[in-house]
Point group: C2
């Protein structure tokens, strides 16, 4: 509510495929560069030992002990019940108690979602918080929501995702009037599955700058600023993009080393691939914010390297400084009447 | 039923973004190379005029007049009602009457689906025909089904898609025991939306070589031979792959022309990009078969060039020679008991 001049970010230091070894350096870099305070959550002894090896000058930090760790493939409901002292849960508690202004975790995404929803609760007007992700395009980046928090959605959920992502595009990506689109199988109205067709009707009438459907084919050209879809489709889509970019990168690398170009190929390939792979490099953005919670929560990729963690912590601090949740509340309030009447219509139709 | 020694392929010569100008040369090339007979369906006068400009030596063909054309964005139900003499409808009729052994169209996909389903009907044991597409990977190509015929599916539909695509992978891609996977958001059982979770249960118990879920990330590495999903997700996925490959191609082209590599860059870029873009080039496979109809129907991309049409006609002829629908019927029969009991269970649960 009343963020201190220096954002205080709780970092799940045990999360991700590489743990404290990678998370701590990334968090320290962000904190030093952007003037954040850190609450490093995890096994006290292990973190203290790790920190002796690192340069902590200029960073105010505090270790907050957590005796448990959520495993990467643990079922969220099991974890919430059995591991009340997991680093994810302890970080959520710090945000709830107001000791931290935001948190980041590269741990089990399902556990982060469940734990933060349970601990922090939702913003008024949000039925389901959603994971937003920033996707690079040929022009400016866009916000895709939901990237994987909600598998089976209703049209009203998609409308709310659009409203929240619109605020995010305005504030984080500095779009003046974000173009909001629905991910579908054709541009024309009436194309798509039942969910998309009904969400189209809602978005068309909403106060958002809704530009209609967008096909997967046009996702990366940069025509729109916000892409709305359910969390299943969104998650399949971003992972497919990630995988295809890697596959093409590998093939191209092999290609450039062939035949008579072999000698100059390697140098050139490395230079080209570096920028090329950056297009789909999650580390550039580092984190995906969970929109709609009573608190700032940034989810980071399990495979995050130190750079990705640095960028995720950076995003958390930026959200705190922007007072992102206040802006979200305002955005939701501005669309409140419309959402309300859409909700009434949906109930009447049931 | 009794294909003539030379497959007779009905070609919707009016279909696609470029019409007869591109469709005819492609069809003639395939017919000449593979010894097919052609039934060229469309405006008689226009086709005859177009053919005078082309080399038709060695190809037996017949023009079949159709007075109407389905527009690319026409609604299928409207088109079926109002354009009973569209080139798509006339081609479907030729297959139904046994005058053609198969057909291809690069026209309005929705109209091809509706018209062929209405005219030819379904194979026994298929509730919903599905569009199968061949996707290139880092290793061997795979079959993805459904690529866009069915927007809202039930678990049983996905099971049937898997059975049909399994037959296609065996016959067309020469896999001995195709690995069948479900497209989802995580490898573990229990990940995905409701549809995928229920389809997982069915596929797990089925006689297919079901290997579990596959994430979008691993689609292009070539670990599996068949990927099953609903038509909405499948269509979004393949169009996203197409769009991302184009975007990366454009970025890379720009990249390789920069700075001190400018001089050698262009040559190298063209060489690399050529093979690189082939990975996602629909023209390599040309067509997507509609599986589950009483007849062979190949759908081609609206933007098909002559090469894509050639490959689509080639696929149609290959399906005829392989007696693909007989193999499909056998595959469905082999899984009949299992599908039957799954159906009973689904009805009981309703």
């Amino acid at each position: 509510m009343n963020p201190s001049p220096k954002p205080r970010i709780a970092v799940d230091a045990m999360g991700g495929d590489f743990g404290p070894h990678v998370v701590l350096p990334g968090a320290l870099q962000a904190a030093r560069a952007k003037q954040f305070d850190l609450l490093l959550v995890g096994d006290e002894t292990r973190l203290a030992a790790e920190l002796t090896k690192l340069d902590t000058r200029g960073v105010e930090y505090r270790i907050v002990h957590a005796s448990q760790v959520a495993e990467m493939h643990e079922k969220p409901s099991d974890c919430l019940r059995r591991k009340k002292d997991s680093s994810i849960q302890v970080a959520s508690n710090l945000v709830r108690k107001g000791e931290a202004d935001g948190m980041i975790s590269a741990g089990n995404t399902g556990v982060v979602l469940a734990s933060s929803l349970f601990t922090l609760g939702r913003i008024e007007g949000v039925d389901r918080p959603a994971l937003a992700t920033i996707l690079p395009t040929e022009r400016a980046p866009l916000v895709l929501v939901d990237a994987g928090a909600n598998m089976d959605c209703k049209p009203l959920n998609l409308l709310q995702f659009g409203i929240m992502a619109d605020v995010m595009a305005r504030t984080l990506l500095h779009c003046v009037t974000p173009k909001v689109a629905l991910l579908s199988i054709g541009h024309e109205e009436g194309k798509g599955n039942l969910l998309v067709k009904e969400a189209f009707e809602l978005l068309k009438l909403s106060p958002l700058n809704f530009v209609g459907n967008i096909e997967g084919r046009d996702l990366f050209t940069g025509e729109v600023d916000v892409v709305v879809c359910d969390g299943f489709v969104g998650n399949v889509a971003i992972k497919l993009g990630e995988g295809l970019a890697s596959s093409l990168g590998r093939l191209l690398k092999g290609e450039l080393r062939r035949g008579f170009f072999a000698k100059i190929g390697t140098t050139l390939a490395l230079s080209a691939l570096k920028r090329f792979s950056r297009l789909m490099d999650y580390a550039e953005y580092g984190g995906a914010p969970l929109l709609g919670l009573n608190g700032i929560v940034i989810v980071s990729h399990g495979a995050s390297n130190a750079k990705a963690i640095r960028n995720a912590v950076d995003m958390a601090g930026t959200f705190v400084r922007l007072n992102a949740n206040k802006l979200l509340r305002e955005g939701l309030a501005a669309n409140k009447d419309f959402v309300h009447s859409a909700k009434r219509a949906a109930h009447a139709a049931e």
